[in-house]
């Protein structure tokens, strides 16, 4: 199997994730989009590691996973906290910082 196909898949997944982040209002779904983008990147990393026979890409993928796990914890906590105070999980309702 051609390794390039993995890269194409990673790009497609990344695009889906980005579109989710930009288009959906629900914070949980937006979050899932972010996760999708991160994991698309991971896929690209390991693919390149395989292509070049260099483990640095795999190491970085692990780093991304760790960071993503931490980010999920913090992010979900914020979302829950906002949901509790504002009774809404829509990102468009959280716009108090505008001019």
């Amino acid at each position: 199997m051609e390794l390039t196909h993995y890269l194409v898949l990673a790009a497609i997944l990344f695009a889906i994730g980005a579109a989710t982040v930009l288009l959906r209002r629900n914070a949980i779904i937006v979050f899932m989009g972010v996760e999708l983008m991160l994991n698309a990147t991971n896929l690209a990393f390991v693919t390149f590691a395989r292509m070049h026979g260099d483990v640095t890409g795999q190491v970085l993928a692990f780093f991304v996973m760790v960071v993503a796990a931490a980010e999920v914890v913090v992010g979900l906590a914020i979302i829950v906290s906002i949901f509790r105070t504002r009774r809404s999980a829509s990102v468009d309702d959280v716009n108090l910082l505008k001019s």
């Binding site: 980005a18 982040v21 930009l22 288009l23 209002r25 937006v30 990102v91 468009d92 959280v94 716009n95 108090l96 910082l97 505008k98 001019s99």
Partner: protein
């Protein structure tokens, strides 16, 4: 000055040889005292201004003392000067280095020579007398001390002006007298017209000062120096065009300070100041500074015959101008001011004639200083007795009530008329004579300027007699409070009780009157004064006027007597209406100073105001508008950018993504571009 006269024979160019040896050894030490001349009055002004109300009680006499002390120093210097042989009578006293900058190396020094000493004696002597007079005249003024501080400041500044050994130091004194004059004209500045008059004098003087500044620049550019010694030594070598330009600039300065045409308009209004000020500053001393400047700058003027002609023309025009205005004024002080203008016209005319005129210009300046100051003090005395009335149509028959004032005023009147043997005769006749001396190649000059000078003498006789008769002779035109009125319209107006002034006021008048009677003859005898000034003005060859001297003298006297007789018929024999009649067109014009104010307003003031208003408008609209527009643009851009911060996370995300894509695209383009 009168007390010095016994010593004068030594000035006639034949000092005894033994005296010279004895005196010349101590002379350097004596002249070292010269700075005291300036410092004493300056100290007086400083003390009186700084001590404030504490010095109210003794301030006036302290001012008198300082001025008198300066006079004593002046006398000592004068006696020392007489001890020197004529060719050593120019003493430059170096004080300290002032400006050492590149090409300009200027020291502050005093030049003590016959010309400056003449001024020193005139200023300090007449000044001290007027100080004494003012002690009584200003007795009831709350601010008498401040008045004396200003008077002392004036004396100090005037002495700097005449003693300076460079044009720059002269300029310092020049500005100083301008300041003192401004402060004193506006001494009663709570009265608005007086404050306006002071401002007018100041502004018009500034116009003249520009001339002096331009002259300074030209001198520096031409000679690289502004001190008298260098400038006068190098002036003959300079080009005529440059000398003409410098001379005209100096003439402008002289016109401003001496109230000569076309900058004469301020002098009449300057009479708003207290009368001693009018006597000292606006008659006897400051206004003659222009004459001093022209005579002092003789080496420059002599290289520029065209400028000299302009000087003569200015003098002649002002002479007639002042005389005509003087004929119509009813305000005694303004009539005297017009007369001052006219008499200074004579001096400027003489100063423009060249070496034959310099000495007589200064001679007339000195005699005029005495008789005009005397008459101003007389006018002050009349005002004192008449509760500050200045309208001569409200005077009349005052001779009976103020004998001393009447007699001293008469001395001044006869002197200005030029009746022999009074002072004015000796000086004015000489100027008329000099004006009639033919100039090579231009025969018209002698006739035109001589004729103007002659005519001026006649008109002078008329208006001064008019003033004298309206005030002291004829019927009483003031309300004497009793029923026994013998004048027309004398029952209206406030009741007056004319009385002679106190001795402190009459004594200075008497001294000045003695000077008006005798000074001219004493100084003219054996041409003492001319010889005395020769170290500065140079020796003038005697030149014959186009008419014989006796004919000129007779003609002058006939014109003067005719003028006086006409005035006698009109203002002493006939009754003078209390309200001024409408008069002829010329009279009405003269009452308004020949429309000089209207001309100035139309030609300079209104266009000037229009110009400043346009400039303000342009500044607001174009300069300010430009910057304000730029600021507005920045603000509007900011407003537009602010719209991007809408608070929606997703739009921020889209922006970030867009930015990232752009950055990635640029990086890709660059790397592939550089790789290929």
């Amino acid at each position: 000055m009168t007390m010095l006269l016994p010593a004068l024979p030594a000035a006639s160019g034949l000092p005894a040889a033994t005296d010279v040896v004895a005196v010349s050894e101590i002379v350097p030490d004596v002249f070292r005292a010269a700075p005291l001349l300036v410092l004493l009055p300056l100290l007086g002004a400083a003390v009186l201004l700084l001590a404030g109300r504490r010095s109210d009680r003794w301030g006036a006499w302290f001012g008198v003392l300082m001025s008198g002390a300066a006079f004593v120093v002046g006398v000592v210097l004068f006696l020392a000067m007489l001890g020197l042989p004529a060719d050593e009578r120019v003493v430059d006293h170096h004080l300290f280095d002032w400006i050492v900058a590149g090409g300009l190396d200027l020291a502050v020094g005093l030049r003590i020579d016959p010309l400056s000493l003449t001024f020193v004696l005139l200023v300090t002597f007449v000044g001290t007398l007027i100080h004494v007079y003012a002690v009584a005249y200003m007795a009831h003024d709350r601010d008498r001390r401040r008045f004396f501080a200003y008077l002392n400041l004036f004396v100090a500044a005037m002495l700097v002006l005449v003693l300076a050994d460079s044009y720059l130091l002269l300029f310092v004194g020049w500005e100083g007298v301008g300041l003192a004059s401004y402060l004193l004209i506006g001494f009663w500045n709570h009265h608005r017209p007086y404050a306006v008059a002071a401002k007018k004098a100041f502004v018009m003087n500034r116009v003249g000062d520009i001339g002096l500044i331009v002259a300074l620049m030209l001198m520096f550019a031409t000679f690289g120096a502004v001190d008298f010694t260098t400038v006068f030594a190098e002036a003959p070598a300079a080009s005529t065009a440059l000398l003409t330009a410098t001379s005209l600039a100096l003439l402008l300065a002289a016109c401003g300070k001496s109230a000569q045409f076309p900058l004469q308009a301020w002098l009449g209004d300057a009479m708003a100041g207290p009368t001693p000020v009018s006597a000292l500053i606006h008659a006897a001393t400051m206004v003659t500074a222009g004459v001093y400047l022209v005579v002092r700058s003789a080496p420059i003027f002599e290289g520029a015959p065209t400028a000299q002609l302009v000087v003569v023309i200015v003098g002649a025009v002002t002479l007639l101008f002042g005389a005509i205005v003087g004929c119509a004024k009813d305000d005694i002080k303004k009539a005297l001011a017009a007369s001052t203008m006219s008499q200074i016209g004579y001096m400027i005319l003489a100063a423009g004639l060249g070496p034959i005129g310099y000495a007589f210009a200064i001679f007339h300046l000195v005699t005029h200083g005495f008789f005009k100051a005397g008459m101003f003090l007389g006018a002050g005395s009349v005002m004192h007795g008449m509760d500050d009335q200045v309208d001569m149509r409200r005077f009349g028959g005052l001779a009976r009530y103020m004998k001393v004032t009447w007699i001293t005023f008469m001395a001044g009147w006869l002197a200005i008329l030029g009746i022999p043997p009074f002072s004015g005769f000796w000086s004015k006749d000489k100027i008329i004579e000099a004006a009639f001396v033919p100039v090579d190649g231009e025969p018209w000059r002698a006739w035109v300027f001589g004729g103007v000078a002659l005519l001026g003498a006649g008109i002078t006789a008329f208006y001064m007699s008019r003033l004298f008769f309206m005030t002291f002779s004829g019927r009483r035109r003031w309300n004497d409070g009793g029923g026994s009125l013998d004048g027309l319209g004398s029952q209206d107006g406030p009741v007056r009780h004319p009385h002679e002034s106190p001795r402190l006021m009459t004594w200075p008048m008497i001294v000045l009157a003695v000077g008006s009677v005798a000074l001219g003859g004493l100084l003219a005898a054996g041409s003492r004064f001319v010889t005395w000034l020769e170290p500065v003005t140079g020796h003038a060859e005697h030149a014959e006027p186009v008419l014989p001297v006796w004919a000129l003298m007779t003609l002058t006297l006939v014109l003067v007597l005719a003028g006086a007789a006409l005035a006698w018929r009109e203002y002493a024999m006939a009754s003078v209406p209390v309200r001024a009649p409408r008069g002829s067109a010329l009279t009405r014009a003269a009452r308004r100073d020949l429309y000089q104010d209207d001309v100035n307003e139309a030609v300079f003031m209104r266009p000037g105001q229009y110009l400043t208003r346009s400039l303000v408008y342009a500044d607001k609209e174009m300069v300010d508008g430009g910057w304000m527009g730029l600021a507005g643009l920045v603000g509007r851009v900011g407003e537009w950018l602010r719209g991007w911060q809408n608070g929606y996370v997703r739009s921020y995300g889209a922006t970030m993504l867009g930015g990232l894509v752009v950055v990635a695209a640029v990086v890709l383009a660059l790397t592939t571009g550089s790789a290929s």
